[in-house]
Amino acid sequence: MNIVVDYGVGNLGAIINMLEHLGHDAVASRDPRSIVSAARLILPGVGAFDQAMARLRELDLVAPLTEAVVARGAPVLGICLGMQLLGRSSDEGQRSERGLGWIPADVVKLSPHEGVKVPHMGWSEVSPTRASALFPGGNEVPRYYFSHSYCLEPDDDRDIAARCDYGGTFAAAVARGSVFGVQFHPEKSHRHGMALLQRFMELT
């Protein structure tokens, strides 16, 4: 089963709408047993890092997620805040919560050069750093919808799958084994987002 993790923060409706449009079955779930055995996991997220991690812990979802992703290698796609949760910690909030830690990375506030506004809200082109499952290459430059004030900063550049320039570059996507994260919203990025979600849903 394909599961969109429903932990109370995230635009699940939009993700499931697009997956259904693409012909994929996906359910919103917070059931630990379903998560442990999921074929693919999508971790959405809107909002603040601390609250999101606190919710995952309250719902006892960290262990089943870790078992599915780390022990079993189920593909996971973190979207927006969901990508940031893949890291260790965040500058946002009180630093009271640790992240999932599946990618050695920390979340930092966007610090574009002067005159560039934060939040970064809108459509930006994304440059894949290498061929990966999410970005197979090709001539068309993909563009996606972003809406964020923070970004994930991996220790190792090799974990970065794509960069975006917004008054300075940041990691628009990460890929490490079967762990993927995108800072943008593929579910809100028309055909560009559909193509990316389609590629993720073909992973096994």
Partner: protein, 255 residues
């Protein structure tokens, strides 16, 4: 980054798409679902749906209606109208809304902060409706009926301080007139806050959109420019190419 061009769809209490002029004289435009499907095909940057009757009728957001609209949107969706609590916002985010737009409720700093704390600043925008009069620019709420006594710059700074991640600055005087934005107003607000500012109210053609961006807006929105064509305001759903915005052209062009 490409500047966003945002169609604004006004819905009334009968779930019809309407368009006003100076916040009055609403005319029927069409069925919101059909219009959203057309905007999907045109790959619009973002859509904004405003229930202009909710606050006046004391209604909360109609979440089922918004869910149905959102299920048609493969682009970011902003919703405004009747949002009075963090729970209202949470219900909207759950059905596929990216951003709530607070109008009358933007004056409630506690609510702005509450939504921003839980969902992040990028998820809460404030619509600053402005009318000019003897005392200069003044912010109005309740669909232009209540003069809040604030000037738009101070008001915008306050809501950003409270946590809003975007300001939509709307000229009530220019609404629906198709003569262009109030560029002085757009510029003043855009240069007073560190968050993106969206120009709304008055755009009729692509030159107006470009002028709004030139005045400092991060994004340009319109309720008329993408749904009406010509002096008789025949309904025709249109959307400019980004190329059109990048290259200066003569006034009065269409796209």
């Amino acid at each position: 980054m490409r500047p966003r061009v945002i169609p604004v769809l006004l819905v009334d209490s009968r779930r019809r798409l309407v368009k006003s002029r100076r916040f009055k004289d609403e005319v029927y435009v069409g069925d919101p679902f059909n219009v959203i499907r057309l905007f999907n095909e045109k790959e619009v940057d973002e859509l904004c749906v405003l229930d202009i009757c909710a606050t006046l009728e004391g209604r909360r957001p109609r979440v089922d209606f918004v869910r149905a609209l959102a299920s048609e949107c493969f682009m970011p969706l902003t919703y405004g109208g009747g949002v009075q609590s963090t729970e209202d916002a949470a219900a909207l985010f759950k059905v596929g809304v990216e951003k709530v737009l607070l109008g009358t409720a933007a004056a409630d700093a506690g609510l702005v902060r509450g939504i921003a704390d839980v969902f992040g600043s990028q998820a809460v925008a404030a619509c600053v409706d402005v009318r000019s009069g003897r005392d200069g620019y003044r912010v109005h709420s309740r669909r232009g009926q209540l003069d809040l006594g604030h000037n738009p710059i101070d008001f915008a700074r306050q809501v950003v301080e409270a946590g809003a991640g975007e300001i939509v600055v709307q000229s009530i005087d220019h609404d629906g007139c198709g003569q262009g934005y109030d560029l002085g107003l757009v510029s003043a607000v855009a240069h007073s806050v560190g968050v993106p500012v969206v120009a709304l109210g008055g755009a009729g053609d692509v030159a107006h959109l470009r002028a709004g961006l030139g005045a400092g807006a991060s994004a340009v929105a319109s309720g008329s420019a993408f749904v009406f064509i010509g002096r008789l305001r025949a309904v025709l759903i249109t959307y400019p190419d980004t190329v059109d915005l990048a290259s200066p052209r003569a006034n009065g062009e269409t796209w």
